[in-house]
Amino acid sequence: MKRPKVKKWTEPKTIKDYPMGSTCDSDHLTSINAGWRTFRPVINYDKCVNCLRCFLVCPDGVIDKSGEKLEIDYDYCKGCGVCEYECRPRAIDMVKEEK
């Protein structure tokens, strides 16, 4: 999957550990968004026609089109359901997350 990954982060302990000025690295993710989800989108590959509509409309960009099949990055999917709603062949199911 070609999506930015979570980076290891250690809390600054002393003032020296903090960056100079109010800056930080870009593309720096230290926490995931999976906990936001109540429903998880699951692609049914038998029905998927690879139209890439879900890839285009995802507000979080979690659908990766680089592989043979579409892949969802569940670390950052918030379960908003836009992909399921927009999918014309109805190839995405929203499945309740089990705790």
Binding site: D27, F55, V57, G81
Partner: protein
């Protein structure tokens, strides 16, 4: 690059990722796709607003390129400064872009934007229009339409929510004689990406006003965000147009409008509207479209 932009041709690389926007955020989708079209060598300036609040949560940083939070009123000025700095340093093949909300554009940042357009600085300015100050808890902005319930324009016995119409931001910008201005909607993403590409290729100031639903502030299900944005265009409450070489062009001119009621009634912010309020909204729409069809269709 003259390639047609769509889901197949656009890059798979995410340049705005892992942000903490609400599920189904229309603005986040607009920024994500705009960044994809503009590419990695883009310097983004964002004022206070949802998009800066959700992407710059230290130590998290959702942009993969350079981005800066500007004072609220100065998106246009900071983006212009970045463009001037890049020019002075001789750094070529870059874009300076501003992503502001509707309040940050039509109310608070209007002066800085106006100045940037006047100087014709080489920037691309995005107004992500979700029709209220959402980040601070849904207050009415200059782009909040008539009849909207917000925390500063509550609906009750005497008032139907907001009593003013949407500010004509697109035409205000165009009146400067800007190099390129366009309106877009996240319901028509190919059209939006085409306009971003156009803005990218144009030297001078470009302005893109993108209509982006906000599930939290509008009170609708998160999964209908994209289709709601499309519905807004189809029912005539938003329009797709361009301003180039001193001329307006209407990109989409529907023969018949879809139902305004269907668009309004799925949103919590319009639930209270009565027939007479909807009549006012429709009359305003018809006046606007009459003018646009007369002057903008060639």
């Amino acid at each position: 690059m003259n390639q047609k932009l769509n889901a197949r041709t656009i890059t798979n690389k995410e340049l705005f990722y892992g942000h903490k926007a609400c599920g189904g955020c229309g603005e986040a989708l607009a920024v994500r796709l705009a960044m994809k079209v503009l590419g990695e060598r883009t310097f983004a300036s964002l004022p206070a607003g949802c998009m800066s609040a959700v992407s710059f949560i230290y130590p998290n940083m959702a942009f993969t390129s350079n981005a800066i939070i500007t004072p609220f009123a100065s998106t246009g000025a900071v983006a212009a400064g970045v463009a001037a700095g890049l020019k002075a340093l001789g750094i070529e093949d870059t874009h300076s872009v501003g992503f502001a909300g509707d309040g940050g554009t039509a109310d608070i940042g209007l002066q800085a934007l106006s100045g940037a357009i006047d100087r014709n600085d080489d920037i691309i300015y995005f107004c992500n229009d979700n029709e209220a100050y959402m980040n601070t808890g849904i207050q009415k902005s200059g782009l909040t339409p008539y009849g909207t319930r917000t925390t500063t324009s509550p609906a009750g016995e005497n008032l139907p929510g907001s009593i003013t119409m949407k500010k004509n931001m697109f035409e205000i910008v165009a009146a400067h004689g800007i190099a390129y201005a366009a309106t877009a909607s996240i319901g028509y993403l190919e059209d939006f990406m085409k306009k971003v590409q156009k803005a990218k290729d144009i030297k001078g100031t470009s302005y893109i006003h993108v209509f982006a639903p906000c599930p939290t502030g509008w009170g609708h299900e998160s999964n209908i965000a994209v289709s709601l944005a499309k519905q807004a265009v189809d029912c005539g409450l938003w329009y797709l147009a361009e301003y180039e070489n001193g001329e307006f062009t209407l990109n989409k001119n529907p023969k018949e409008f879809s139902s305004v009621e269907d668009y309004l009634k799925v949103q919590g912010r319009f639930k209270h509207l009565e027939d007479r309020d909807i009549e006012i909204i429709k009359n305003h729409r018809d006046t606007k479209w009459k003018k646009m069809r007369r002057d903008w269709v060639r």
